[in-house]
Amino acid sequence: MKNPEKLLDLLAQDARLTPAQLAAMLGESEEDVAAAIKAYEKNSTILGYKTVVDWDKTSKESVTALIEVKITPQKGMGFDEIARQIYSHHQVESVYLMSGGFDLTVIIKGRTMREVARFVSEQLAPMENVLSTGTHFILKKYKDNSVEFDPADSDKREVMAW
């Protein structure tokens, strides 16, 4: 395959493209594209396929918080291990190691604010290596994973002929 990254780019934008469509777009054969996808899945380059949902449009109640976490790595226990202990909680959606003023960004989702608060105060903050936490609740999502949440999807173009 001439440009495997392009294949990943396309799938990252739209996972519903079929191997036949991807093949046409990339100028490759359908078999090659299907094989490449399979290989990427096997070596965990492709980790999954998800749907972008605007939960605000549903009746499901949930809150998301972004937590800045400062930690003190200890002997024999690097960032990776501490991060693992944090992301193993099922409420945790994302964990990133950061440069700058704090060490980890933890994004967690709960049904209610109290649930999130309880997670921070009872699970996260008391961890031995955690120095401090700063919790920010997300009020509204405008754009996530390159997807705008209130797309102006109506075609504004008026003229057909040119």
Binding site: L10, A20, Q21, V159, A161, W162
Partner: protein
């Protein structure tokens, strides 16, 4: 009672309104109809370019500019053309900023054509050349191009059409509606025919940034001896997704531009000032945006070509603009019938090839200036429509 028919200019009455209109009105009444008909980018103008227009308003830049356009904009255009084609145009005397490419086309035709002069127009092509020629008193002479030649203008057909009255050749490549382009060698063959004549060339290169082959677009003025007899029309609409700003330019020998500018000067004064400030920003910083959009068009182009071919439509691979021009002859329908039925039965609007000249009959123009989701749904419906036609046979 006023007899309007008697009052109207004979030249204007002679001009037929665009045949696409009827179609457009039909589609507009159908709430679930989806269109593949639009001929402009689906991208909004890149933000920093819009921002530059807004800032110019905030600073109170609300006055006319020089008739020729802002000096800074003309300098930027000259620099752009030097970078792209290694062509040197005098920013003061050879570049005129216009209200879109369309005005540049109109002014050029009017400046050059005398009553009865013949204007050679390769077809299928953009719908404006013929009426503008008629309104200037000229005689439009269609040069049909063929799918077998990938809708390129050939030297033979050009040679055969030249008469002592031929004044102007329109060179509309990359082409709307076919997506055809002309390579350097193919343009050279045209230049060889033109070289020993007095014919002026109006090279409409508005789609020059949107080509998908291995070679960059060649400006006709690059060819030996052609700069002195070519008016190049270009603009911001397609490359920077700036259709609504109405900004383009014409460039050519100063002996011609001086007169073309007179038409602009008395008819228009100057192109919109806000748009001109945005245009400066576009040339300065828009290179990456052009590439980003071009890549998107290219993916859709490949996708759509694959879909059309797998539906059983014959389609040559277009290398420019954002249109496909598949043949629908295998369906046994005329292009008008095809489009009408497709609109009524599956609610997809595409444009009959015949709207772009007689030689467009048997084809339809499909624009891929749409999101992938939109294209996917449109293709699903078209496939269904073609299956229905197949079943009828």
């Amino acid at each position: 009672m006023v007899n309007y028919e008697q009052i109207l200019s004979a030249r204007v009455k002679e001009v037929q309104p665009s045949g696409i209109r009827r179609f457009f009105e039909l589609a507009a009444k159908m709430p679930h109809a989806i269109s593949l008909g639009v001929g402009e980018p689906d991208f909004e103008t890149p933000w920093q370019i819009r921002r530059a227009g807004i800032q110019s308003l905030e600073k109170g830049q609300t006055f006319y500019t020089s008739n020729w356009g802002l000096a800074e904009l003309r300098n930027q255009i000259a620099a752009l053309v030097r970078r792209k084609y290694r062509l040197c145009y005098d920013a003061d005397k050879e570049i005129l900023v216009t209200v879109g490419g369309s005005e540049a086309i109109d002014n050029t035709i009017r400046a050059i054509v005398n009553v009865g002069d013949e204007v050679l127009i390769p077809e299928p092509s953009f719908v404006c050349y013929k009426p503008l020629t008629q309104m200037a008193g000229g005689v439009p002479v269609p040069l049909p191009t063929r799918a077998e030649d990938q809708f390129k203008l050939t030297a033979d057909s050009l040679r055969a059409a030249i008469t002592p009255r031929t004044k102007l050749l329109i060179l509309p490549y990359p082409n709307n509606p076919t997506g055809a382009i002309m390579t350097r060698d193919e343009l050279q063959a045209i230049a060889t025919v033109i070289k020993d004549t007095n014919i002026i060339v109006l090279s409409d290169e508005i789609y020059n940034s949107l080509t998908y082959g291995p070679d960059r677009h060649v400006c006709f003025a690059e060819l030996d001896g052609m700069k002195e007899r070519t008016i190049v029309v270009d603009g911001f609409s397609k490359s920077y997704a700036m259709t609504g700003w109405r900004l383009g330019w014409a460039m050519g020998p100063k002996e011609l531009m001086r007169h073309i500018c007179k038409i602009h000067q008395f008819g228009i004064m100057s192109a919109p000032t806000t748009a001109q400030f945005a245009g400066i920003e576009a040339i300065r910083t828009g290179e990456d945006d052009i590439e980003r959009m071009r890549e998107q068009y290219d993916l859709r182009r490949r996708y759509l070509l694959g879909e059309l071919r797998s539906m059983g439509l014959e389609c040559f691979e277009p290398q420019g603009a954002f249109y496909m021009f598949p043949s629908i002859e295998s369906t046994g329908l005329s292009s008008d019938e095809f489009c009408e039925r497709l609109l009524h039965e599956q609610e997809v609007a595409v444009i009959p090839g015949s709207a772009f000249g007689e030689s467009g009959e048997g084809h339809v123009r499909i624009s891929y200036s749409y999101s992938m989701n939109h294209l996917r749904e449109a293709c699903r419906r078209m496939r269904k429509f073609l299956q229905t036609l197949q079943a009828e046979k």
